[in-house]
């Protein structure tokens, strides 16, 4: 195989890659072969030294984000669909378990800001009732009324702190959730090359 044939075959095998990426690799191997020829090797020897273009393409595509999967294929499209439907209890349960696992991860991580938010609202409502009600309590029991006023004021401070914590945690968790979503989406965006 000479240089032109090697580059043509490599280009053909990399057809799933976008043109700019593909051209980068073609230029790279073109230069590499030229260097070998300049050093006194024949084109055929240089191509032998680099290796099989199909294997090189497979490695490049694997790094590029494509996956090679040996999909079971019966040769009849209809039969494939039937087998997929029959196999649903198997792959469906695995898919359901995966979806539920992802959902539970989201629920767990969002539990923390939900709890702090609920506590913040609870403390704030109680403090308002406590402060407004304290004069009426004071009329019957002065010490209890003053204590209620104090706990009411302290509760406003606690609710403010919890509110700030909720905002801070929510902002961070939104970023974490977006990253997690992107990673999960990337799992399904990979190209599949039937082997």
């Amino acid at each position: 195989m000479n240089k032109a044939e090697f580059l043509n075959e490599l280009s053909f095998c990399l057809q799933n890659m976008n043109n700019s990426e593909k051209n980068k690799f073609i230029i790279f191997y073109d230069e590499m072969l030229s260097d070998y020829v300049e050093n006194g090797m024949t084109e055929e020897d240089a191509v032998d030294k680099i290796g099989d273009p199909k294997k090189i393409a497979e490695e490049l595509l694997a790094d590029y984000g494509s996956v090679k999967i040996n999909l079971p294929f019966t040769g009849i499209r209809g039969l494939n669909y039937i087998l997929t439907i029959i196999g649903f209890p198997l792959w469906g349960s695995v898919l359901l378990a995966f979806v539920l696992m992802v959902f539970s991860v989201y629920v767990i991580i969002w539990c923390v800001p939900f709890t702090t938010g609920a506590l913040s609202i609870g403390f704030f409502t109680t403090s308002i009732i406590g402060i407004v009600g304290s004069p009426f309590v004071m009329l019957k029991n002065a010490s209890m009324g003053i204590m209620q006023l104090g706990t009411g004021i302290a509760s406003i401070g606690i609710s403010l702190l919890l509110g700030l914590a909720t905002l801070g945690l929510s902002k961070r968790l939104i970023i974490i959730t977006k990253n997690l979503n992107a990673k999960l989406a990337a799992l399904f965006k990979k190209k599949v090359i039937v082997g």
Binding site: T126, G130, S143, S155, L160
Partner: protein
């Protein structure tokens, strides 16, 4: 920069409120002579707008709207 300043001010404000509240509460307890039994005896009246309750010797903080209907419950409400 501005948001950070607001955050810092909010944290300082909340800490001041907590400290003030604690001091007022201690003062209230002082009115009862720092005597828990006296406070307990005086806390027989338990309207819905009261947030400090003493039920069966244990104090709890929260709002009691009715039987087993509580908004916030810190402590033993039983």
């Amino acid at each position: 920069m501005k948001i950070k300043n607001i955050k810092r001010k909010c944290i300082i404000l909340s800490l001041i409120l907590i400290l003030t509240g604690v001091l007022i509460s201690i003062a209230g307890f002082g009115v009862a002579g720092f005597d828990y039994n006296r406070l307990k005896k005086e806390a027989t009246h338990d309207p819905w707008y009261q947030t400090i309750h003493i039920n069966s010797d244990t104090p709890w903080y929260g709002v009691k709207f009715g039987n087993n209907i509580h908004l916030m419950n810190i402590g033993n409400a039983d």
